[in-house]
Symmetry: C2
């Protein structure tokens, strides 16, 4: 991977930062955030402005360009990748390390007095605007909204915004109709005494209307906004997608409906003016509910006194708690996904060991091929991380021709992959060795496994927030002086985004919502040695009620049920480092893989993969 040469681009950007054609007053700095107008994590090519200007294309990062400097903030997952992809014009700001300044503090330290700092008001979330603008103002600078995006101004071959057909999901997938979702949302709105709710996140629009799209790779969403009133529904969406009879039928656009369920379809680009009209028509005490992560532009459309901002929207919270139809769909999707991975690992063992011709890219493609053979497969849920040896230490690695290594019997192979099926989203990581792992590799793997089990088997009171479980995943590593620099888990959508709020498992203190039965998160501790290898063991797990001997204050308890059912390579386990309880957990897990996935392999007539599964799920025996 050679870095992108950005000298000329930065020169052009610095020119438009001073051009009266684009800015009222010259800018001394311009911020290029990662997201799109919906604060999405995964974005369409036309929104990859930060990657365009810097070369760094990881999923998280913010670029700031001043007259003298160009700096990039990103987190521990991307330190290596960003360093590889950016040229010498850029300074890497390693977030999470003690000495790394915040963007605001850095700006204050480098800017000349009375500077103007520009940003696209549609891209920056309102909460971030507020924080930055406060610090900048108190240091004598100004954060200013720049209507025209300055990256777009210099991006001559910027791709078109996608506008692909929609998929409608019926009740057997969603469990709840969009009408019932609107009713539930309005009841939450009434509870909080708000009259309007603005849906800005793409996955929230998709979930609310039981629709899916493919405007953004890996995330089955489509560009749209919605504004829900107590008696009105406005959907802002472009193209002829609303001409599709299936969509018209699904949304009952041509039916005679009670007026409060009649959907008014408006152009995507009219959201700001429509919202400004809503804002202008409000009477005192009438409130509009927005996410505090909605863009500054949309938030400003509502006068401050009328805004009701929350970190998580009622849709985000409702969406996180999966109903029985969604849970069953997720189970089915994970069984199919396991079938594909059994096929893959069986194939790899056959190919890697004698031939040595399988590269990371070939393995990733093969994984996709096996997945695509499964029913209701739609696409991958993220770019496959297929990494061997030192590439495994690059936490969010994606193989490209320049870095592509060949799998061998001498290196650890880490595969983090997943798919979108019409009935559910998967995300699984397995770490394998096709030869003989060293004692040290087995030791590290076993600590990671102990952490994985500690979270998966944890029992905790109803209402516990996920961040209180994070240290369980690290304890075995900590005992030996080891650790990993990423969180332990994220929420997972149901045929939606593979990363979703409002819950997660992380040492970072963020405003996570309490875990409750029906929520789905990942459990993925790891261990990484730069230049040498990476280990991660990831299952998607469902929060379920736990049976306990006692029940303090009648609160009830919760635990996790693994949805992912793919064998964990026993060859990598140092059994003597496991307690009997941990050993039993592995054996029970493998027994379940064998039964559930075995039956499906049998049904699909995949006998060789079934034999591989049986072999890989032999019980561990622990010396007493």
């Amino acid at each position: 991977m050679s870095p992108k040469i950005t000298t000329e681009l930065l020169k052009q950007l610095r020119q438009v930062m001073k051009s009266p054609k684009y800015v009222q007053e010259p800018l001394q700095a311009y911020i290029v955030p990662s997201g799109d107008a919906h604060q999405s994590e995964y974005i369409a090519p036309c929104d990859c402005r930060r990657a365009f200007i810097s070369g760094f294309d990881g999923s998280a990062g913010t670029a700031i360009v001043t007259e003298q400097h160009a700096a990039m903030w990103t987190d521990g997952r991307y330190f290596l990748q960003a360093a590889h992809q950016m040229d010498n014009n850029w300074t890497l700001m390693k977030m999470g390390l003690k000495d790394t300044p915040t963007q605001e503090d850095w700006l204050v330290s480098v800017l000349p007095e009375g500077s103007k700092v520009g940003v696209d008001p549609f891209i920056i979330p309102a909460d971030q605007w507020k924080r930055m603008s406060k610090v900048l103002r108190s240091a004598g600078h100004d954060l200013v909204p720049v209507k025209e995006n300055l990256i777009d101004a210099i991006w001559t071959d910027c791709p078109q915004r996608p506008c692909k057909p929609l998929i409608t999901l019926n009740l057997s997938y969603t469990g709840v109709s969009w009408r019932d979702k609107i009713v539930a949302l309005r009841s939450k709105m009434a509870e909080r005494k708000v009259l309007w709710f603005v849906v800005t996140a793409l996955d929230e629009v998709a979930w609310l209307f039981n629709l899916r799209g493919s405007d953004v790779e890996y995330n089955p969403v489509f560009f749209a906004y919605a504004v829900i009133g107590m008696n009105t529904i406005r959907l802002f969406i472009d193209g002829d997608r609303m001409m599709d009879p299936a969509v018209r039928e699904h949304l009952q656009l041509d039916s005679i409906l009670e007026p409060e369920f009649k959907i008014q379809v408006l152009p995507y680009g009219s959201i700001l003016s429509e919202l400004q009209a809503v804002g202008a028509g409000l009477s005192p005490k009438e409130k509009v509910w927005l996410s505090d992560k909605a863009s500054y532009a949309l938030t400003e459309a509502i006068p401050k006194a009328y805004r009701y901002l929350t970190p998580y929207t009622p849709i985000c919270i409702a969406k996180a708690v999966k109903n029985a139809s969604e849970t069953e769909g997720m189970r089915r999707a994970h069984i199919k996904d396991a079938v594909a991975l059994c096929e893959l690992f069986n194939w790899l063992e056959k190919e890697v060991v004698p031939m040595g011709t399988v590269t990371e890219i070939i393995a990733a493609d093969k994984a996709e091929e096996f997945r695509s053979q499964q029913k209701d497969f739609v696409e991958l849920s993220f770019a496959t991380i297929s990494s061997t040896g030192p590439n495994g230490a690059i936490i969010h690695y994606k193989p490209v021709p320049e870095t592509n290594r060949t799998l061998s019997v001498n290196e650890i192979y880490l595969l983090d992959s997943g798919a979108q099926y019409k009935d559910g989203t998967t995300d699984v990581t397995r770490t394998m060795h096709f030869g003989t792992p060293s004692a040290y590799e087995k030791e590290c793997f076993t600590y990671v496994l102990k952490g994985h089990i500690a979270v998966s088997a944890a029992i905790f009171p109803n209402g516990t927030k996920g961040h209180l479980l994070d240290s369980f995943a690290r304890s075995a590593l900590w005992d030996c002086g080891l650790d990993y620099l990423h969180g332990t888990g994220h929420g997972v959508g149901s045929f939606l985004n593979v990363h979703e709020g409002p819950c997660g498992i992380s040492y970072k203190t963020f405003a996570d919502e309490p875990l409750e039965a029906g929520m789905i998160v990942s459990d993925e501790p790891g261990y990484y040695e730069d230049g040498s290898f990476g280990i991660r063991i990831e299952n998607v797990v469902l929060v379920i009620p736990a049976e306990t001997k006692y029940n303090f204050k009648n609160r009830g308890s919760l635990t996790f049920e693994p949805l992912t059912l793919v064998p964990i390579q026993t060859k990598m386990i140092d059994v003597n480092l496991l307690s009997q309880k941990e050993c039993n957990w592995v054996n029970d897990y493998h027994q379940k893989c064998r039964e559930v996935v075995g039956a499906e392999l049998e049904r699909q007539g995949r006998h060789e993969a079934l034999r591989w599964l049986i072999r890989e799920t032999e019980p561990l025996i622990r010396a007493q």
Copy 2:
């Protein structure tokens, strides 16, 4: 404990809330916070305004009185106590429970439009003022500072503010002279580019000048403020305490010093006007550093543009990391404290079992008597919690004649107590049974013990915040559906406050500073059954470097060393619930108690207590 009858007092308070003698405009609500002008947790009798108006005298709570209501906010430690001490005029607001409104939200829900809410600006911390005033203002109300305290206005027999003699501490106790502490502070000030630092917390003044006092029971502090400039030191303190030759010598008040170490002594009451003068004399870019918990009155004395506020002051952070002299002092203090408790428990076993005449109060007095026989004993470090049977479930119980139970062979006895010695502060909880505990009591005790050990033996990376360790203390309880509703640990001062910041171990996400070697915290999980019993096992532990097999990113690891060396009653342990590792921890701990405390008991000629210690530290044997 019968509740305080407050009908007449509330009537008087509501009168002064409308009296033009005290307020410019009538108040619709008046807030009575817990603290004093220094935001102390433990306060002098003259500052116990909230207890005076409500009857509830726990260490944490805020009263709000409106024309119609009187409400008290307190946390889980005090739910039972507050309910017992307050009459029907009061509504208890249980903080931490889901449905309990915040003070601001409650005020907004009960106040008539355009209300004035009064508070003493010297008592309310600036950060709290800001939060409350924002919410109130956005709902159309006003938070107004009321110069004269309205409780003082109706408190006819309010005690005098104490003004007791000072104790000077020499280098053998403090390890660092006050001059060197000033130098270190000024270097922190220079780093942050501030010109002035205002010391408002009583323990910070005491620590900075290596002085102690006895103005507040249990906390060896004295009423004072200090304002440190780059070349000036101003100490605001009353009385003839500065006439004491030892104090004059200690502070070198009569020596010819470099001007920057010359202490200017000013009256306690002149802080506000002096600070206003400092504020008025500032040039642009000159900043004054204050804790964001300093009072609203003092914070307002500095114009907003010149304030530099942080949650923790550099003194708070420096004070938390104990140097070698302080650590050695803390070790000595804990050995003496253990001697006293061995004597006590030996005495209790002799008295309780055959006689049945020892009450909670007698036991507490006896504990104090034994402690007072130890060298350098000053006073207790908090009101002894001596509680048997159901009283043990009242987490911060203090025995009074009305509640005083007799210890018996049928009930669990919980003793949480500690002392101030000139060389250190102690805080220890032991839970004992003088007869035969039930299997259930042993089971619960053993889960609490497992949690205690999980924290005490934890190894974690340098820079880990204490809240990441909290779940370790709960895991064994959670597995059985049990839990406790308080944090796991607090910072402990060195011959200073028994509760101090900036570190702790709690599920509550507060801005705790990372743990580092030399910090001292408590480790005190528990389990409580209302109406039945309470269990808590508490040691004070020192953060020390840990030796680990590996050293990820060269970060280094930490663990804890118990300073408390008092046997944990093995009779209460169900050995079969312990792992071999946990069993070894108990045996190693008891071996250390035996060696270290045994030697001191021997030296002091306390042979009977020594025999008790030997008996109580017999190794546990676990069935394989």
